[in-house]
Amino acid sequence: MNAPVRRDAFSVGAAPLPIADAAIRFESVGKVFPGRSGQGEVAALQGIDLAVPKGAILGVIGRSGAGKSTLIRLVNGLERASSGRVLLDGEDVTNLTEAGWRARRRSTGMIFQHFNLLSSRTVFDNVALPLEIGGIPKAEIKARVEKLLDLVGLADKSGRYPAELSGGQKQRVGIARALATEPKVLLCDEATSALDPETTQSILALLKRVNRELGITILLITHEIPVIKEICDRVAVIEGGRIVEQGETFPIFTRPQHPTTARFVETVTGVELPAHLTERLHQQAQPGDSAVVRITFTGENATAPVISRLSTTIGVDVNILAGRIDAIAGQPFGSLLVSVPAQEPALSAILGALNSLNLKAEVIGHVS
């Protein structure tokens, strides 16, 4: 774990993007925090190279303490980089003054895990807050806020206070508020982590709509892999202040290279062997055993009628033990556990047939 990791060693499909295409770009960014008295400095981020293409949704996933909160706050100057450069829309913002950042922040929206709505203001006045701060005339504020509340589906809650809303409704207000200044970039800080799964889905759908319809680039941080799976075009995995793997979501999910990534994705892509079979699984084949094979479907092959083809062309019985087909970043992806006769040459024929279909097939053990 402590061996030096080359930054690009685990990058999958992460060809450096031309600067002109990046809404947000980090170049070897580091961040150190002064330690508490008597202790040394704490490195929160090290050697971050990351580009968020314009119009994309990029998710940064990591456990708490991995540095993702610091990372997202570098984009609107709530934290400043200690080294390296941060570029927004091609412009170097690393050394902006606080006043310069204030102007910048008006073109960057942010939503939060705990919504951070003002309890003393109504829904309408919460959404109006960034516009008041920006000195927008009252009449225009009214028009814009009404349009935004319509967009997030809360036009009828305009006069309510946050305490009267559900979590999902509060986050909708947060999104409307973040969009009020018509930003080009939306930062989502664990935006769905305080919500139940169903509400999470509706908020993610709204974020996707915001991205597609308004063309807003989204950078989100989360510790929940389903969030990445649902809406992110690209993903970066962060651990110990370093990005250990990044690239397009689908290849990262289907062929994770780094162990941390693998642990994250297996919760949504992996298929567990049923408990009664796990106990009986052994590595050495004995006469009369069946082989347990894990077949991984990706992309267009995910929908191929593989099992029936095996039965008809090779003439073996295929017994399905467990399986799931899911969509990752909009593309189908599946995993299937089957048991097939373990004796040769049938087994080799089966594996050969699967490989010829471009499916990944591996024998994970035998059962009697």
Binding site: S119, S120, G134
Partner: protein, 221 residues
Amino acid sequence: MSPEIIRLIVQATGDTLLMVAVAAGLGTVFGLPLGVFLATSKRGELFAAPAVNAALGALVNATRSTPFIILVVAIIPFTRLIAGTSIGTNAAMVPLTIAATPFIARLIEGAIREVDQGLVEAARSMGATPLQIVRKVLVPEALPAITLGLTLAIVSLLGFSAMVGAVGGGGLGDLGIRYGYQRFMPDVMGVVVAVLIVLVQTVQSIGDRLARRLNKRLRHA
């Protein structure tokens, strides 16, 4: 009780209310910015000025730890400078205001510190200036707590105002000491105490009700 005494009680009640109102009003005028500053000027905060914060904090503590009756006597020259005299209702307003200001400042500091830092971060993320954060976020969000704090301050000032009676201030305390105690008129003393009780009860229930109305956090759909 003679009409003369009743007239005196009415007059004294008016004086007390005036003294407390002026001291609470001026105390808030000075105490609000002081309290906001104390709550926002430690290291890493909006108006970070740790040295000034520490100095003002020490001054506030010094004033608050001086017993009120000693404060009244100690600042007599200053009282003369401001009010032209050290005796009577107007003069009493000076020490009352000086005692009220650091008290109110601490109450407001406490109320502001209770505001969720996430709201400050949200406002910063919108490009708000520190002053906008104070005006649009910190003070409005702390308003229910500030209201309760001011209620407490007014109740304390009612007690203090009775104390200045001992050193020649006006109002109910003065009346109670001169008539109730020195002239052995227990009925006057009784009325003075009763009026003070009614005043405190009234202030407290108005304050509670106002704070409850301002607090939008406890409503449910």
